[in-house]
Symmetry: D2
Subunit: 306 residues, 4 copies
Amino acid sequence: MPLTPDQLSEIAAARATPRPTLRAVSEGMEAHLYHAHPVLDHGFIRVIDYMGDDAAIVQAARVSYGAGTKHVQNDEGLIRYLMRHWHSTPFEMCEIKLHVKLPVFVARQWIRHRTANVNEYSGRYSILDREFYIPAPEHLAAQSTVNNQGRGEVLQGEEAARVLDLLKSDANRAYDHYEAMLSTTDPNGDAQQGLARELARMNLPANIYTQWYWKVDLHNLFHFLRLRADAHAQYEIRVYAEAIAACVKDWVPLAYAAFEDYRMGGVTLSAKAIAVVKRMLTGEVVTQETSGMSKGEWREFEGVWG
Amino acid sequence: MPLTPDQLSEIAAARATPRPTLRAVSEGMEAHLYHAHPVLDHGFIRVIDYMGDDAAIVQAARVSYGAGTKHVQNDEGLIRYLMRHWHSTPFEMCEIKLHVKLPVFVARQWIRHRTANVNEYSGRYSILDREFYIPAPEHLAAQSTVNNQGRGEVLQGEEAARVLDLLKSDANRAYDHYEAMLSTTDPNGDAQQGLARELARMNLPANIYTQWYWKVDLHNLFHFLRLRADAHAQYEIRVYAEAIAACVKDWVPLAYAAFEDYRMGGVTLSAKAIAVVKRMLTGEVVTQETSGMSKGEWREFEGVWG
Amino acid sequence: MPLTPDQLSEIAAARATPRPTLRAVSEGMEAHLYHAHPVLDHGFIRVIDYMGDDAAIVQAARVSYGAGTKHVQNDEGLIRYLMRHWHSTPFEMCEIKLHVKLPVFVARQWIRHRTANVNEYSGRYSILDREFYIPAPEHLAAQSTVNNQGRGEVLQGEEAARVLDLLKSDANRAYDHYEAMLSTTDPNGDAQQGLARELARMNLPANIYTQWYWKVDLHNLFHFLRLRADAHAQYEIRVYAEAIAACVKDWVPLAYAAFEDYRMGGVTLSAKAIAVVKRMLTGEVVTQETSGMSKGEWREFEGVWG
Amino acid sequence: MPLTPDQLSEIAAARATPRPTLRAVSEGMEAHLYHAHPVLDHGFIRVIDYMGDDAAIVQAARVSYGAGTKHVQNDEGLIRYLMRHWHSTPFEMCEIKLHVKLPVFVARQWIRHRTANVNEYSGRYSILDREFYIPAPEHLAAQSTVNNQGRGEVLQGEEAARVLDLLKSDANRAYDHYEAMLSTTDPNGDAQQGLARELARMNLPANIYTQWYWKVDLHNLFHFLRLRADAHAQYEIRVYAEAIAACVKDWVPLAYAAFEDYRMGGVTLSAKAIAVVKRMLTGEVVTQETSGMSKGEWREFEGVWG
């Protein structure tokens, strides 16, 4: 369980005290505030705060465009237009702040998205908890034989058992030794100095959990979701992206629907690919050999059309 | 008057309908929401939205530092510590969104602060209003004779009158011609095509007003305020910075007080300057010649100690 | 002519003195260095410096991927793969620095691209030159009647003459008055104080030329070029983008070719649009009414397929 | 030894072939190019490329200021002025690209500097090497008893031996099991699938080495150096910052000297602290009690004056 009774009662207390505000309010998002949505075995995402809603996107765009937009019949149409034409600034006018608990190897991928604000729990200052990500059996996958950075089939039987046993025993041994190095009591019960926390942490493996506050605007969040909720993303970060996406859908339903249509469900065709589709529309049967595409491109192109 | 009766009634309507929220609320900021604080002759700043408060800064820092901070006795102490030690990330956890009406030459300085989100009223899409910044007589200053990028004394008499007359008449003539170029009726009342808005706007001078939505986090806002509320900033942007600062003070009073002490009221001494102060503390009388500083540095150094 | 004989001789001098370096060198770019490529009537772009070449993109990507990429047969294939899969970081490893002279209204669009470094000529510090953009007759376009932010036909006859006359006379009068306000001699030849430069500049129209140093990485430059070399961009910024694009093509030919295929020549289809193409590929005749798309979307969709 | 003979010969080859360029060349930096400067037990920094020199900073600033700066007598004076007045944009006109090999826990601190470009070696794609940071005995420090995020005395005797033994044996065991999980041969020599690389890497501790290409402008690099070459930075990142600083000093000697005087050797005094120094300059003996400062602030304040 990711949260202690104390933490759960803090969340309940935070949710018990609505206060009046004059700001834009998203009812859909209020329902999520502070709740911990579980992810993986010990992780979670929690929405701590948000700014704006669908109407705020339109409002910002209309300052940008002034009175001229009155002919756009409705907010949905304008939001779809903005998304289609890559107008990013109106989406930047919404902001979200999350509290996330996640394994270090996931945090290392996540932090590569630079246009965001982060405060991470410090292993220099504090002692980390004994919590490690151990994959569920159905996610214990073999190396893909076709994709150098992907997974293949699920491991079975002895091999699966061996892997799980190694991950668990190494994590626990590493943590035991982390504690022993930090301790001001030696194995014989005598006093010792205790290694600096900033050094001892180097013994901990990448599946230990860390946590952070992460704040990002909606445009950059959509970029994160497009890459990390994608089928090619590593499963362990994808589940975080999916949990966030579910909240975003309730927060800004119109913007999220446009994002789903144009980004998550959309595809970018190259000039070469457009030319091939045009030939196909005339009835021509095009093959990789006659397409002018490399094998990799052709495989991806075929993937679009099923 | 910067706002029309329609606009004022829109603001009144927005302020009339508080709604419950579970988010952090700053009472001080709620009082400012949507109100237009006048700046210069036709400009204003309006707070449209905000995220977080003083407690949110502490909360983010404590995730960053974990349970270890319990010994910091109070939020004020921690916030001062963070400011003193240039810990910027906790301040990034607060965000503000403003609607600003400002002359174009001020907008051109402002936009150089890149870590912010902006939606500007578009002169390609819409027709700009006939509103120009004309300095009040007490701000009609001569070129400084000592500072290449500053102002000297206020212009007097004939010269002042001449300058005001030129600014007003040129602005109005430029706008008349902007309208004439856009018009689909020629001077004889016959039909004409009308120049594209994206071209006609090039005739308008830099004191015409534009407007935008501007969203920024508290850390970057403090950086903006430090540079633009400073005595060396151009008066016309400084008054915007001061109007924003007054809102920030009500929003996050602890953070703002720390900012005033360490940034606005603080000073950075070079290694050379520290060495000089040490000599002065032993009773030595140091002059520019014996300081090792250039004349410019020495003048600024003397300015600190009055 | 954009450059004085003095400036031309400075450029010749800079080009006369090659020096040895161990860094990556792009022969194609060396040929452009320092030369001013004319844009509009008084503007230019000049490449001042660059970092990296096509091989540097591959080199960075291969650190990223380690020895595993040895199976990618050639640099071109890898660069195309990176572009197709939106891997932006290897392209960020190349950097370019430009000196640009451009009208203020173009600079105001340009600066909205925030991920770049800029040093602009300061009108607080210095006196601006009497140089204004006056459109060539063939670019003096009417407002589009179908696109709120676009141009229609070219103005003809009297109207064109009237517009050019207004633009020229207003620009010159504004500049005359700018000089008169700055002057320390009044119209009678007596001494006056002279208005501060930071104030006097507000009288100058948006077609006056400014200049700046602009430095950006290749990924962000491609993003700029995609938006600003696009047919929907305003002509006056598009010609700058095209002049830059011509240099980039000589600098990193493989990356530029991939950019042309996937970005400039490519198109993003929504989930809805993909579904329609699939129906079309089965021979179905799809109309706007049966497409599920709005009229605007359908018009753009049809535009792809000619 | 951080580099293999193959890698050393690649470096020698890269250094053997100077080519002519018209760009700004820094002789001091050319001497560093490609050489691996060792850091810690297996790490290094290597300068891969650079853009600009001291003169490029001045050149950019002079566009910014135009002809007006002719009265600044020399480049050094202007560079010092820019640094003193926090003019960051001219320093952004220089850029550096480094190849760095570093432990993961150092990489995790480093990446928090977001305004930079990074390509990291991918543990999804490739197999990491068996190289771990093991502190030298003189850097095996105890937790500080006064500073929650610092180090105290060096560990001695048995305790030191125990810590080193744990770090070494845990690292090697983790790596053995990483290999075993990846292996397509089970412990009995029979075929097994082999765990996906993206999963197996989670077993590796934070002292394993990774590597990346890191590109940053000089302004942001100075910010990095100020924080990470500081006495309060963790030793293991400080040595990287110092190795980089040594290269920067040879690259842009004037800018580096200004940085040392105003940033590394400088100190920021609060309004409160300035008031205290003024009292001290009149001969008053000020104590913490009469200073108005907290104990922490007073301790830091006393630290400045020795």
